[in-house]
């Protein structure tokens, strides 16, 4: 097996790699275009099961906007190892955890890359006075963890998050973002 593979590699490797070069050039162009566009991040929010208070349509839009923005900023923070991008979308425990995660990553020269995010979010509790909402997020994303430039973990993740959000002055903020095995 080893001998035949070494022979095969020697004879066909060059022609394969020449053809690959063309494809790689095309892929690079595509990658550059993708980098200029928004990172893939889809969030859908279903509020039909929320109670005891029903979620007003304007509130639903704002929560959807801010939750999506929060994940976008979380991804940036974990990849750049900087909390500058968090922009007040996390508060309380969620903010403390994210800040600590970024700081310890930076200390150990690690980075995490979240890509191709899809979040299917259900609002399951909306307080009678509208001052707290609980969301259940079934999230799918590709997670890459790097030590320096070396990938040490690469996984397509399906995760479940229990999320608490509260209204701030001009936005809804994430106060708790807690992964659970299942809902």
């Amino acid at each position: 097996m080893r001998a035949s593979c070494e022979f095969y590699l020697a004879t066909t490797g060059r022609s394969v790699f020449r053809r690959l070069a063309g494809l790689i050039a095309l892929a690079l162009l595509g990658t550059l275009a993708a980098m200029c566009a928004e990172p893939a991040l889809n969030v859908s929010l279903n509020t039909s099961k929320a109670g005891p208070r029903s979620v007003e349509s304007q509130t639903e839009k704002v929560i959807l906007r801010d939750y999506k923005f929060a994940w976008s900023n979380l991804g940036q923070a974990m990849e750049s190892n900087s909390t500058a991008s968090i922009s007040g979308l996390f508060a309380g425990t969620a903010n403390a955890w994210l800040t600590s995660a970024v700081a310890t990553q930076r200390r150990n020269r690690l980075t995490s890359r979240y890509s191709n995010q899809n979040h299917k979010v259900d609002a399951v509790f909306y307080a009678p006075e509208g001052d707290v909402i609980e969301l259940h997020d079934t999230a799918e994303y590709d997670l890459q963890i790097l030590d320096g430039g070396k990938t040490i973990h690469d996984e397509h993740v399906v995760a479940h998050y229990v999320v608490l959000m509260t209204p701030g002055a001009d936005r809804w903020v994430v106060r708790q973002l807690q992964a659970v095995p299942q809902f």
Partner: protein, 292 residues
């Protein structure tokens, strides 16, 4: 052309994986994650194999990197496992292996208790509501189902209690406001942990207005009888009562705040005057005062 390229690539990858597999097999090691980790409790990851390796622990609020030896248990300290959620343990020697595990919240030591409103008019249906969320000492939301006991007490009435199960870490209640003005104390308790809030119950809208008046040198002096809501509570001072005087020349209107339960006003008018009063949606009686 593309099909032939894919075939060649397929063969290439099979060969490379085969060669790599020979190497990986020699170094293969297993990781066994802790089965029931709880926040703030130490745990360990069992490993097999041998030789030095680099260990990584990636959690909700932590990223750890340190050297370990394969074949020995990797100790995770209580501090490293304070946040509830998913952790990824990765061990790299020549290749990297990983295992994920969850850390559950510890037992509740605190209750976040949101109660509304801070001031509630009496005798209103479902006027007072509360939401309780149990947290452990590391600020993890405790998601295991539990029962929260809500106790309501106010001066002059027997305490009432209401229990509600947590669902997704949240328990809530709503109730009517009491019949008497005063402080309503609400306590939420779970597993010996309790949090107290106070709602000030205040009189509701005036139930009826009775006015009386008399002529004086400047016109007509009018005042209400003590203004109360429908359950007999004095309406708060500062509530506005509008007095209106109508005579042949026109209308004179004065807004007067209630002071010590009574609103007073001085109205102008000549001849026979009809005076009425209103507060909110409540109209008072009319009085007719004759001219001099």
């Amino acid at each position: 052309m593309l099909a032939s390229l894919w075939r060649q690539l397929g063969m290439l990858s099979v060969c490379m994986a085969g060669l790599a597999g020979l190497t990986l097999y020699a170094q293969e090691a297993d990781l066994r994650a802790p089965s029931a980790a709880v926040a703030g409790n130490p745990a360990s990851i069992e490993t097999t194999g041998g030789g030095p390796a680099t260990f990584y622990l990636i959690g909700p609020s932590i990223a750890v990197k340190r050297d370990v030896r394969m074949g020995e248990a990797i100790a995770l300290s209580a501090k490293e496992l304070q946040s509830s959620g998913k952790y990824m343990a990765i061990v790299c020697s020549e290749a990297c292996r990983s295992v994920g595990f969850f850390v559950a919240p510890a037992k509740p030591v605190g209750l976040t208790f949101l109660v509304h409103p801070s001031r509630a008019p009496v005798s209103q249906p479902n006027m007072v509501s509360g939401v309780a969320l149990p947290f452990d000492e590391f600020h993890n939301l405790v998601l295991a189902p539990a029962t929260v006991e809500f106790q309501l007490s106010a001066a002059g009435i027997a305490p009432a209690s209401h229990s509600a199960p947590t669902q997704g870490g949240v328990a809530w209640f709503h109730t009517n406001s009491g019949r008497s003005a005063g402080a309503l104390q609400i306590t939420a308790s779970i597993d010996g942990v309790s949090t107290r809030r106070v709602v000030q119950q205040v009189a509701s809208d005036p139930c009826s207005l009775r006015i009386k008046g008399e002529r004086n040198k400047r016109g007509f002096a009018v005042e209400t009888e003590p203004v109360k809501d429908c359950t007999g509570n004095p309406v708060p001072d500062g509530t506005i009562v509008t007095f209106t005087a109508k005579d042949a020349q026109g209308t004179d209107t004065v807004d007067a705040p209630i002071k010590k339960g009574i609103a007073r006003a001085q109205l102008k008018g000549s001849g026979t005057v009809t005076i009425s009063a209103a507060s909110g949606v409540v109209m008072g009686n009319e009085v007719r005062l004759g001219g001099q």
